[in-house]
Amino acid sequence: MIQVEHLTKSYGSHYALSDVSFAIKEGEVVGFLGPNGAGKSTTMNILTGCLSSNSGTVRVNGADILKDPAEAKRQIGYLPEQPPLYTDMTVEEYLGFVYDLKRCTLPKKEHITEICETVRIADVRRRLIRNLSKGYRQRVGIAQALVGNPPVLIFDEPTVGLDPKQIIEVRNLLRTLGKTHTVILSTHILPEVQAICDRLLIISEGHIVADKPTEELTRVIRDSRRYRLKVAGPQKEVLGLLRGIPGILRAEAQAERDGESSFTIESAAGTDVRGPLFFALAERGWPVYGLEAVHTDLEDVFLQLVEHGGELPAEPAAKPRRK
């Protein structure tokens, strides 16, 4: 559906994108993830024909964005970071304008009514966009992208600046749209990607550092083998014991208060250390006050990806240093 090959974009001597390539299949919902300034918006602007690249090609459904812009643009509905709304128009007038602008051929009235119902703005149709709340404006922005039923939808940070309830609403909407469209969604909010996308493209400093199914990342998170342990016992000795237990790769003392010490431990892949840990401690008469799994969140994984150039470490969050 979308083919991006060797995209490079520089602003003067600063490279916003260097040699970015990826392909997106029809029906995929792809999360475009990266820290601020990583090149997300630049990529999206190039995909939609707002900006042009220094080199490389973008093809949307076979149409080159530079050679056949009209055809390529017809395939895309785009919601930029700031929704492009004419605030002096009513919602209905505005959507009518977008309809004419995109030279749609669908029956106008029905089409606009349908879109208004999909994004649930039917109740504000006759109000001036200027007077709408931010959540509604965002939805009008999404409505604008839907005009003409383009097969590809591109959203640039669609939930930024919304309140939590609105965020959930917009996410649900995106999920619904993802069933019938190819969607590219840029964001730096990880749970959002987790909730909506099938696949992740992670970009950092103008490079694609990872291109993986979302499940793979969530699996890494689920399979966390880090624990936080609280034991009533002398810190140094407990630590020595912990390091002696087979299957524990790493143990670190955290704090000691009122005879209670906390530790973080990390087990080797494929072994469950919780049982041996319990018995070893019980044998020495040091009661376990707490043992909980520490979840590696997507944030950690993301930071690692960005730092390690895209390789998911075999052992999540395994730091090289040992105390």
Partner: protein, 234 residues
């Protein structure tokens, strides 16, 4: 393109700008007309047209100042740039909308002349020639305004810069008269909008001037398209 044109026209008349422009334009032209012809008991319209020409320096930037700068500031240009409309189509639609408002006002002010005809026998050819010339000059000025508006996000900057450019274009002919070197004088009066206009006030329909105004318009519309093109490649 038609969609942009329609939206633009709508924007002129749902915001005060269209009304303000029309009101100032009509009131000013009526006042000037009254003073230069009725009060002066004259059917000579030279002064009227000359004063109108100079008033365009202030008036016409009002029409174009926000055309593109506002789009850029509100980020609505992204909608236009990602829609299947060519840059040329977009710029032309905007230009035509501004021109339509201006042309409408010109038509309305032409009603002034009816009074003149009831009292005397003015030279119809001169009046028509002058009206045509004013419209041509207006066209060129609007395209310059549009160009400046594409350069900045600020409406105020757009209008001030446009006024400055128009002023220069009008007066370089006078500056030429103060300069001794004949080639420079020739060059400056060749560039001056005003010296071209003078032929019309004298009742001569100057084809060279027609070509000059139309190409001035075309050049600035082309430059506006280039501004967008260049920004994409920047």
């Amino acid at each position: 393109m038609l969609a942009i044109y329609k939206r633009e026209m709508r924007a002129y008349f749902t915001t005060p700008i269209g009304y303000v422009f029309a009101a100032i334009f009509l009131a000013f032209s009526a006042a000037v007309f009254t003073y230069t012809t009725l009060y002066a008991l004259s059917s000579d319209t030279t002064d009227y047209f000359t004063i109108m020409l100079f008033s365009f320096i202030i008036l016409l930037p009002l029409l174009t100042m926000k055309t593109l700068s506002e789009e850029r500031k509100m980020k609505t240009e992204q909608l236009l740039l990602t829609s299947p409309v060519s840059l040329t189509g977009m710029v032309c639609a905007k230009f035509l909308a501004a021109f339509t408002v201006f042309f409408g006002c010109m038509l309305l002010t032409s009603l002034n002349f009816i009074i003149l005809y009831t009292h005397s026998e003015p030279n119809t050819a001169i009046i028509l020639g002058n009206l045509a010339a004013l419209i041509l000059v207006g066209m060129a000025f609007l395209s310059i305004g549009l160009f400046v508006s594409s350069l900045t996000e600020s409406q105020l900057a757009a209008s001030v810069i446009t006024v400055a450019i128009l002023l220069v274009l009008l007066v370089i002919g006078f500056a030429g008269n103060l300069i001794g070197a004949p080639w420079l004088r020739f060059l400056l009066s060749g560039l001056s909008v005003f010296s071209r206009f003078q032929n019309f006030t004298n009742g001569v329909f100057d084809i060279a001037a027609l070509v000059y105004y139309v190409s001035l318009t075309a050049v600035f519309l082309f430059l506006t398209v280039r501004v967008y093109d260049r920004r994409r490649f920047a």
